[in-house]
């Protein structure tokens, strides 16, 4: 099945210059392609630059060189076509759940009735029925993240960017949210680019895994996860998954030993 290319990252480099003049090469020659409806995951150690890469794709930061193309159009600024979900939720605390979810729609000029129709749909998808009038300060971490996801999806972006969205949640909630995300992405058929340092999470969610090295971050491996059917946490013990996990772990382990040895 030939799928269209949704996102293409071409030759992206990012060099940070500190005020003392020191140069930090955060990203080196990043090339990746995400096809429509694909769930791509970038997995790598902390500090390898994956958040920086996601921010560049989302337009919150500028690449030193290279381009980002969404639907074959170059993008430079943030936009509603690339929705982002962050680890810190970033809900607007003065707005209720419903108002948060409708934020992007209000900006676009939807009528109240139009907004209600869409927000009801996505609040239902993330399982927060009954909490429409709640303020964020009354919600748990997992609930806040659901609102953040609903808010981004309600805007119907063509690309969903997620930066370790479940990193701040406890282990149990994380499991629930991962399975929720699997069902949401299947239901809404959104293209997703997901960042994590958790290999299990990468294998559970992604159909394409990019392994990133430590700084200067570059893509060292691309793994296609071919698995038909819905993935629950039981798949992680299957032999093919164990193999992929071992492969990624070895790569990351090698990377950190190289770092320790000053390579």
């Amino acid at each position: 099945m030939k799928r269209k290319t949704k996102l293409e990252v071409k030759g992206v480099n990012k060099i940070f210059t500190s005020h003392t003049g020191q140069e930090v090469h955060a990203l080196k020659d990043i090339n990746l392609v995400v096809k429509e409806k694909e769930f791509a995951v970038i997995v790598g150690p902390s500090g390898c630059g994956k958040s920086t890469l996601l921010n560049i794709v989302g337009g919150l930061e500028k690449a030193t060189s290279g381009t980002i193309e969404v639907d074959a159009n170059k993008v430079f600024e943030p936009g509603a076509d690339r929705g982002m979900v962050f680890q810190g939720y970033s809900l607007f605390p003065w707005l209720t759940v419903k108002e948060n979810v409708e934020f992007g729609l209000k900006i676009k000029g939807f009528s109240a009735a139009g907004r209600e129709k869409i927000s009801t749909k996505y609040i239902d998808i993330v399982g927060l029925n009954g909490f429409e009038k709640s303020l964020p300060k009354t919600l748990s971490g997992g609930m806040k993240q659901r609102v953040a996801i609903a808010r981004t999806l309600a805007n119907e972006p063509s690309l969903l960017l997620m930066d370790e969205p479940f990193g701040a949640l406890d282990a149990q909630t994380r499991v629930v949210m991962q399975e929720l995300l699997v069902s949401i992405s299947q239901k809404t058929q959104t293209t997703v680019l997901f960042i994590t340092h958790d290999i299990d999470e990468a294998l559970l969610l992604g159909n394409k895994i990019y392994v990133m090295s430590r700084r200067p971050g570059c893509i060292t491996e691309v793994i296609d996860v071919e698995f038909e059917g819905t993935r629950g946490h039981n798949v992680l013990v299957l032999p093919e998954f164990m193999e992929m996990k071992k492969k990624i772990m070895d790569m990351l382990w090698q990377d950190s030993t190289d770092a320790a040895n000053g390579k």
Binding site: G59, F92, L135, P136, K137
Partner: protein, 265 residues
């Protein structure tokens, strides 16, 4: 029921807070009575509570209390309102534009340290002896601090909220109106409340010259006659009215920003 228990704990906490405040207030009054009725301090230094009450009652009887209170309150409110109306846009602009900030901040920081009392002769020279001069004194005492507080509050808004708005498609104007301003409101309300308190402390300076009404005027006139009971009466009234405006501000803040979480909640 978990909800009921939490409610009850909240009520108990509030009662113990209020009763502690009342108790501390009473201790001070008791100390005051002890020092004066017990003959430890001379009447000239510390008037008895009853003489202060008498002085206040006298002012009520000759009709001057209400008009003095109103003159002073009006001056504080107008002077403070002028500060707020100017400080809000200027402070926000300082937070949002590095260029504007570079131009304006050094000037503000400098003027901030000028003692307002020393500026009184200048205000008389430029503005004469009318009410305008009084408003200006209150303004000078509050504006320069308030504008910096506003700038600080606005620039402390969580950048992630602004980033989230950008990724949801908000234009710069929409970000200012729909994110920056509501996110700044708790800090702004706090700044307004605190500076309103400071405005009251400048009342005496404002009524120092060429005033013929007001609580500050009463205090200054009483100083000349060493009528300490009247001085205390004026001071306590200023304190009480100031406290009252503070409570009103707190109530307004709760209504305007019900969503704000504080550490103590």
């Amino acid at each position: 029921m978990k909800g009921k228990k939490a409610e009850n704990i909240k009520i108990v906490k509030k009662l113990s807070y209020t009763s502690l405040s009342i108790i501390s207030f009473f201790v001070i009054i008791l100390a005051w009575c002890g020092l004066t009725y017990g003959g430890i301090l001379d009447k000239i230094f510390l008037p008895t509570p009853s003489s202060v009450i008498m002085a206040t009652v006298n002012m009520v009887n000759d009709g001057t209390l209400a008009s003095n209170i109103w003159s002073s309150t009006y001056r504080v409110l107008v002077g403070w309102a002028l500060s707020a109306i100017l400080a809000l846009p200027i402070g926000m602009l300082m937070a949002c534009s590095k260029t504007f900030n570079a131009i304006i901040q050094p000037v503000i920081e400098f003027v901030r340290y000028l003692p307002v009392v020393a500026l009184v002769p200048l205000t008389l020279l430029y503005l004469g002896i009318g009410e305008g001069q009084k408003y200006t004194i209150i303004f000078l005492g509050t504006f320069f601090q308030l504008v910096l507080m506003v700038a600080d509050t606005v620039s402390s808004v969580d950048k992630n909220l602004l980033n989230a708005a950008r990724t949801l498609g908000a234009s710069p104007y929409q970000r200012y109106k729909l994110v920056l301003f509501p996110a700044s409101l708790p800090g702004l309300m706090d700044s307004f409340r605190v500076t309103m308190g400071w405005a009251w402390t400048y009342l005496v300076v404002a009524e120092m010259v060429a005033a013929n009404s007001g609580l500050g005027y009463v205090i200054l006139k009483s100083q000349r006659f060493l009528a300490t009971d009247k001085i205390f009466s004026g001071l306590i009234l200023i304190g009480l009215i100031g406290l009252f405006t503070d409570l009103i501000f707190r109530a307004i803040t709760k209504i305007v920003v019900p969503w704000h979480e504080r550490l103590g909640d």
